[in-house]
Symmetry: D2
Subunit: 358 residues, 4 copies
């Protein structure tokens, strides 16, 4: 089973790329919260395809229809179900893939799991399209968190070999997030952004794709949230973020770089500031022992290059077990990273709200 | 809540560093499995402190007492509870820490969560000592997996700036694991191992500590195990591995490096080999769409430098809110990485058994 | 949180009586199962209102729309979401109830839980209407169980003071179920059925309502299914059956009657029959130590009289805290028991499938 | 899996009748709560055998040893593990039962589930002895609830055909509980108690056993606690209470009797009293729509006669599949009901604390 997440605010994602609809049930929302549907729509628009020349020309309206859980737009304590009807699907593109799995897609693994009964059309329930309901849930959670002074933001940290600046892990704040949000290409340093965009254009020009990383921060986080061992912030955030297809790595604070350091350099000394205990640096990424320290929670995740590329690839006909060349048709993003930015924020929001908004 | 993990084989870890005992309940073990207690003891000995000049001189007997769940040493279908009594604790060392939290330890976060009632002695339930019951559970799971032809092994991939070779992600096998196990310092390339050991000695000589990375592989994994979205192999393995204190990052397959590549370079083409479909390369780390592809599952995790160092650090007296210098006494590992190797294997074993041994 | 059930086949029920739609997500269905939608429709028709002169004149089409989880009608391993759009709602009837809670309805308790933000229209998510998605899930589970030779059937065991015969707990079989299903009023003994119908007519004639009991049996159940302590068949079945609004009691086997007996009379001796071990009697209701014995699982549940009655009742204006007389309008069942029969079967099916169809 | 219960305060019960120890892990206890160990011991003594001439002459010390989760006796936020070592076991008594299952015991079902590997000694993990750790957990939960003004009490409601008075469901209070607690035989009406005791003596005199019922009430319960559908008070309480071996039925409020009534007689009108909304009667047992109404929660459960009797019974040799007469030796309670009273209270306490003490 795979579609459930959360202990207090439990989300259940459903749908396939080409099924009637995709959607999410959110159980455990406190009653009496007014959802700002314009804000959720704006949030989801950041994930939607077809926004610019860097993403797939597919248009997905992604119009959310709330079936339950609200009276007008105010939560009533019942599980909220929201769906997005699937339109503009061209299932024909995928027919030949049933026998010849696409490299680095889920096709082969899904076939092995489901004995060939998996829905191959558009990647079925393995499609990145399933991040749309995640984004809806995340948008609702984020609104609730904002009422509590907690803000979440992310930016593209790298595309291919081009890197953005990093968040200042001690001082990052919601003004930083707002600034990034105002840009069509969500980075901190626009010059670096140009290099990153070039990576995508260059890959696209070859019918190729490219990966990247996303950095996300949660600010206004109170200290003392989380748990040690199996249910801490790192465990929970990573479990949610790996729910976004194509994520292959995650690190908190100084992460892999920190593992190269000595303790004297990586440790974050404490200091008293305005009656509060803070850390001077934030190599711990706001999490100690699985519990928030009150410093910004900062993590980065690695997104693999889109596996759908226009170039010829080697595959196998799973019936005849003969090697076979494959060229994938259809319409695909040369780089999924820009559209994944709100998905990462949504995953973080769902986790934090689960701890905080119960 | 934090001490539970698993859906089918559910483990519940308990204990504090200086409580009467630490332990684990393992529920869902199939009845009729004979546990090889010598093998579990040998596995746990790899984690135990005091083995050589690189680790803390503390001796922990780590003798496991099985309270329930077996008749003789054969599982009977009832939950297995195993405990390790705590001995040789020197609680006095920790008294002053209640007011002055140690940098990059859980002290401050735990205090904020539990209103100061957390057990500060030896790090309480945030202690690395809690990985001993995890290792016991992992050792039992590993024995069950081995009966099914699934083997798990890990090595130190880096210490500070010194790196080991990586596993060959396509051909890694249990003979590789056996070879690593035979060495006192678990690396692939012994020459590199010497550089890595030097990193630890050098840090220790300064009263400092150093971090590193561990690479782990699961071989013999059947294809089709796992789930998309929230309950896939990546979600579950990461959730378990972050249960090991000091882990701050995880990546699967080509991970963060892969995010710099183009699709044409990172994609893993398929090939038919002896009637089976395999991939030519394994940048996907054996996992596609959250589900095993049949290739080795390969992941790496980042371990931060031990936060306990002998050097003077800056902290705060949380009562007076005055800054205060802190020097930590007690006996500590200059590098936790070598002892964390079996812990990472154990975390992987617990996850894989949860899917496979139900 | 309340809308999730199950460990392996997990169902998530959503919707309110007057929301856009009600529905269910079923996660964990094995891929490749062809759902017989005519059979699910026939099953749900047994629950639908407006069937005869004994139930509410409200018409609910209860047409199920499957949004995901199938390709054509074959499960594909993705979560199945099915919805029923709400039509023919007359929300106006309920407006005055916001301040003056209906006796023995959920209105007051829901208001206290949700600070008055609960959806009062038609009982919101406390409505018996939410058993429609449960019935859909149950119908799907039942089809899967039938393929494994497991059959579930129920009958009205009593209405008011009039009682039906009981199932023969040793020999009950699917032919018995078929016979009951062929009747418009699902009882074993039709003469007693007439007395039971009279109880309903008489209550209805006074603007009153009446309760009753339902007996359910699961036959073809293999021995060895279940668990002791908290996750046995009795725990799970009762947890599911209390999910049907108006259920106030449940008993397995000889139940409350058995508590009056001596062990020598209540114990079920074993006998060998055709190479199988069976019990001579079945006072244990097919469950010993939480685990199936291989005998039919038999349980009965108590359904309270419909709380909505046409007579004047005493209530309180929760704002002014003044006592106030209340007469409930709207269209209501004088007895919910006949329509609850398939709901009880569905609850049992969901539980048994959760153990068996994983 | 079967040994876990709870969402916020999660208990994990382990052990077999004749294993090294039995015990419980309680996760999620708020830190800073001082456990009154004399009170927990007194509570557990009510369950212990060997107290009087009505129960088994076995002596079980039932001394609880807390292994973790406290500093002194104050909770520290870490999972609390408590064990009771098993002593005074006479395993020899059970040897012949491996092949010839005892009627109405779990022996046969457990054998079918675990392929004969179940621990047959003393009933293994199906033993009533496993209620000792449940009682410990319940005693801790009850202390926390009492601090919040919530009190739980139970009495023997019937033994065989002899009945006690019932609680006044509207006015029952903690003084009633105290009075019952002061009696060696926990009933409301002592004269009836004599008849009930006679039922036990008479059964014992014949080497037979007898069943009964227990009524339990929770007072001081705030309104608004619980959930509709699958996670309401009735679902959760029943799931916990069926965790006590030998329970075969449960009913809330007017329960099965209420199912015979008309709505006009069973409905509970509201009245305003001292600025609070109450019900005039309490046929709903304090629960409406799965949520507490603020009235006392009242339920009754049916306990089957102890299956171990001294008389000859019919069984089967499961290897030869020949019928065989069986006479059970060993030491057994002629009636388990008196010792089950605190177990029922404990089950209720664990459920209510799970909702309230998070």
């Amino acid at each position: 089973m795979s579609c459930n997440f959360g202990n207090n605010i439990k989300i259940t994602v459903f749908g396939q790329s080409h099924s009637e609809a995709i959607g999410v049930v959110i159980d455990g929302l406190p009653a009496g919260f007014k959802i700002d549907t314009e804000k959720t729509a704006a949030f989801m628009a950041r994930r939607a395809p077809g926004q610019n020349d860097l993403s797939t020309p597919r248009k997905e309206a992604d119009e959310v229809k709330i079936l339950s859980g609200v009276v007008d737009t105010v939560t009533c304590g019942a599980p909220l179900c929201a769906i997005i009807e699937n339109t503009n699907t061209r299932s024909g593109d995928y027919d030949k893939l049933r026998l010849v799995p696409r490299p680095s897609h889920s096709d082969f693994a899904a076939m092995m799991k489901h004995g060939g009964f998996n829905d191959i059309r558009g990647g079925g329930n393995f499609s990145g399209r399933l991040t749309a309901p995640l984004c809806f849930a995340g948008a609702v959670c984020m609104q609730m968190l904002e009422e509590k002074g907690i803000h979440i933001g992310a930016h593209i940290a790298s595309i291919g070999m081009a890197n953005d600046e990093k968040f200042d892990p001690v001082n990052v704040n919601k003004a930083d997030f707002k600034k990034i949000l105002s840009k069509p290409f969500p980075v901190i340093n626009d010059k670096q952004g140009e290099l990153m965009r070039k990576e995508i254009y260059d890959a696209k020009a070859c019918g190729d794709s490219v990966g990247g990383t996303i950095e996300c921060a949660v600010v206004g986080m109170p200290a003392g949230i989380g748990d040690p061992i199996f249910d801490g912030l790192e465990n929970r955030i990573s479990a949610a973020v790996f729910g976004i297809p194509a994520v292959k790595g995650i690190e908190f604070g100084s992460g892999f770089e920190g593992s190269k350091l000595r303790g004297s350099r990586n440790n974050d000394g404490f200091t008293a500031e305005n009656g509060e205990t803070k850390t001077l640096t934030n190599n711990h990424g706001g999490i100690l022992g699985g519990i928030s320290s009150g410093m910004p929670v900062v993590f980065r995740c690695a997104i693999k290059p889109t596996p759908s590329i226009g170039m010829q690839q080697q595959s196998v006909n799973v019936e005849t077990l003969e090697n076979q060349e494959l060229v994938i048709g259809g319409r695909h993003d040369p780089c999924i990273v820009p559209r994944a930015v709100p998905c990462v924020e949504a995953a973080a929001a769902v986790v934090i709200a689960d701890y905080i908004c119960k």
